[in-house]
């Protein structure tokens, strides 16, 4: 590049600063990478593990509860038929809402429908499934 300036009386300006400028840019690049290490390494992701634990616990609690009317357990009663699902959905929603901590949203999916909130895209979700005589029941939880 600096060849163009030769002989036009301005050669000293461009010639010396170019190497220094290149070195400066190099130093900035190297330091930028180094800063990544200086400000601590990323923490392990424990939020997701905690969400999985919440989902597991919710399923365990629900699966151990007696049915409101008849059936093996509360979840088996809900998953048994569309009629029992319709009858129990409000009670199930209230129950899940009560047992989960307030900072969580949830969705419970049964073979006959789902209760809870629609699941947003792009959030960490904890998931647990339990098998009942009526089919699988899946609980998904995520942070508000």
């Amino acid at each position: 590049m600096s060849e163009r300036h030769e002989g036009n009386g301005r050669r000293h300006r461009g010639q010396l600063s170019l190497s220094i400028a290149e070195a400066g840019i190099g130093v900035v690049l190297v330091l930028a990478v180094a800063m990544g290490f200086a400000y601590d390494l990323p923490e392990p992701d424990t939020r997701h593990a905690q969400l999985e634990t919440y989902a597991e616990d919710a399923v365990t609690v629900l699966a151990g509860e007696p049915p409101r009317h008849r059936g093996a357990t509360r979840l088996a009663e809900v998953a048994r038929s569309p009629e029992t699902f319709e009858r129990e959905r409000d009670a199930l929603e209230r129950r899940v809402d009560r047992i989960l901590p307030d900072n969580l949203m949830y969705r419970v999916e049964t073979p006959h429908g789902a209760v809870g909130f629609p699941r947003p895209a792009g959030v960490a979700v904890g998931e647990a499934t339990v098998t009942t005589v009526g089919g699988d029941v899946t609980v998904r939880v995520w942070y508000v």
Binding site: S2, E6, D57, V61, P101
Partner: protein, 221 residues
């Protein structure tokens, strides 16, 4: 020609500058990797302790994730005895926001939260009104204590939802403990040789009241 010569010291300075920066950065990265927590013992112990605390077979639970009433009165010594995983570590247990056990200062350690129910046992005793020698328990229970003192008839058999739970051809008389299913409403039927007088049967059942809570286990190794 003059251009290359004039640049030589500048090039040397630039190289020295870059090399020293790179060396410094590598040293920094090395220090960061050495200092990194590659063995998250806090979290591992907290996870293990919380798993054991809510386990089906744990001395603190009635069934999985349902804590007994007295589970909240753990002492550090009994905790060590039942859950050796936490021996020698600073630990704190919170149930529903109240600290039930604290040993050492686990601030800065890892916390694992579990959804649990707190079970409180009750006992209700009643003299049931018998309709054709049968009665339905008002609430679900795991066991029933029956006191049978027949005055005018002999009670041969007691059935819970048509399942024989007590039987004596020469007549039942005394106090009996009967295990029933907590998953269904129990209807007790007494088979006698005549109508039972009110007061011949006294029964005690043990309904469970559960409240929800969050169990937080914090451990610092």
């Amino acid at each position: 020609m003059t251009r290359g010569q004039a640049n030589l010291p500048a090039l040397a300075v630039a190289l020295v500058l870059l090399t020293s920066t790179a060396g410094l950065s590598v040293a920094l990265a090395d220090a960061a990797f050495v200092g990194a927590d590659r063995d998250p013992a806090d979290r591992r112990v907290a996870d293990a302790l919380s798993d054991r605390l809510v386990d089906d077979d744990s001395p603190t639970t009635r069934r999985a994730n349902v804590l007994r009433e007295n589970a909240l009165s753990l002492t550090a010594a009994t905790l060590d005895e039942s859950f050796p995983v936490v021996r020698g570590h600073a630990v704190r247990l919170d149930v529903g926001g109240t600290t039930v056990l604290e040993r050492g200062d686990p601030t800065g350690g890892a916390t694992v939260r579990r959804v649990v129910l707190l079970a409180r046992g009750q006992s209700v005793t009643l003299v049931p009104t018998l309709d054709r020698n049968a009665t339905t328990l008002p609430r679900r229970t795991e066991r029933v204590t029956l006191t049978i003192r027949p005055t005018n008839a002999t009670v041969e058999t007691v059935r819970a939802n048509d399942r024989v739970v007590l039987h004596d051809p020469s007549g039942l008389n005394g106090t009996y403990d009967v295990r029933v299913s907590r998953f269904e409403t129990v209807r007790l039927r007494f088979e006698t040789d005549g109508p039972l007088a009110r007061g011949s049967i006294e029964l005690t059942y043990y309904p469970t009241v559960t409240t929800k809570a969050t169990l937080a286990v914090t451990v610092d190794v």
